[in-house]
Amino acid sequence: MNQEPIKRTQWVTALSALPAEQVVSLCTELSEGWKIRPKSIPQSGLGLLKLNDSALNDPFYLGEIPISSAWIEVTTAEGQQTEGAAQLMDDRLELVEALALCDAILATQLPGWEKIEAMVKQGLQLREVIKIERKRLLAHTQVNFSLLDDVGDDNADT
């Protein structure tokens, strides 16, 4: 049975679930002899999370998040050329550069793409486990408010 290909929008989410060292070391191994140059300067820093209030629709800053981004151009030893990019809620430049490289390798199926795809599948499985755990935790915090109605009726009687 043919599996549906994993959407490109999910690759970075999946790979970022794995240990950073695993991603970076595979990328270093695969890109041996390749030329990787930035299309824009890789950036890392704090981004301000902006929301609009519901009453007046005025913007306010909820807080700060670490954010990094990279956009790269890859030329393999055989002369194959492609681009990749990644944006991550994390301040590690080395990791986001590695994720941008994974994006490039998978997008054009450069040599070694099968290993990256295997890592993406592994990452998606990890994300699924985290999702189930979060659902379980959320279920524990749910309150049965219907019990309050019974208490209210009792008070009305007294």
């Binding site: 030329k35 140059r37 930035p38 299309k39 490289l101």
Partner: protein, 184 residues
């Protein structure tokens, strides 16, 4: 993994910025820019230091390659609105750059003019003003006379005016609006 040219690296940019400050403080003195190669011109090195997403740039003579713009992370604007304007000094161009206002004279344009050669040449300028001990001479090749007329017109209503950064292949010279220039 990623190969980043030295002009885009923080250490080089900090050193270049220091040179720019010195150049503005001592108008007319030539400063050699760092890590200039065949791929990266002096003009691009200066832009790499000054540009970011908060300022705007006009490139009317198309001196920048398409791939330079995302690296500079700068917004492109029209000539009369841009904070920085990169021009070929040998070509004439008729326009009125931003001159600032009396309340905010710093909100004016800075012109980055690319000339053929700094420090020697047929054009000989006499410079006086703040940062210059007495008189300074600046020689160059590749600056059309039109630019000097334009500078004189723009800076006629000081403190409004424009500041210049002249670059050749490897060097730069700054001429802030406070410097009086006379052609010899």
């Amino acid at each position: 993994m990623l190969t980043l040219d030295p002009i885009w690296q923080p250490e080089t940019q900090q050193a270049q910025f220091r040179l720019l400050l010195e150049a503005m403080s001592y108008p007319g003195r030539c400063y050699s820019l760092l890590n200039i190669s065949e791929e990266n011109s002096a003009a691009l090195a200066v832009l790499a230091v000054l540009m970011d997403s908060e300022v705007s740039l006009a490139d009317p003579h198309f001196r920048l390659e398409e791939g330079d713009w995302p690296l500079l992370q700068v917004n492109s604007k029209e000539l009369d609105e841009a904070d920085y304007i990169l021009c070929d000094g040998s070509k004439t161009l008729d326009f009125l750059p931003k001159l600032g206002s009396l309340a905010c004279p710093e909100q004016s344009a800075t012109l980055i003019l690319v000339v053929e050669q700094l420090g020697q040449g047929d054009i000989n300028l006499k410079l006086t003003g703040p940062g210059i001990n007495g008189v300074n001479e600046l020689r160059m090749n590749g600056l059309a006379p039109h630019w000097l007329t334009m500078r004189s017109d723009s800076n006629g209503t000081f403190p409004l005016g424009v500041d210049w950064i002249l670059v050749d292949k490897t060097q730069m010279v700054a001429l802030p609006r406070t410097t009086q220039v006379e052609v010899m």
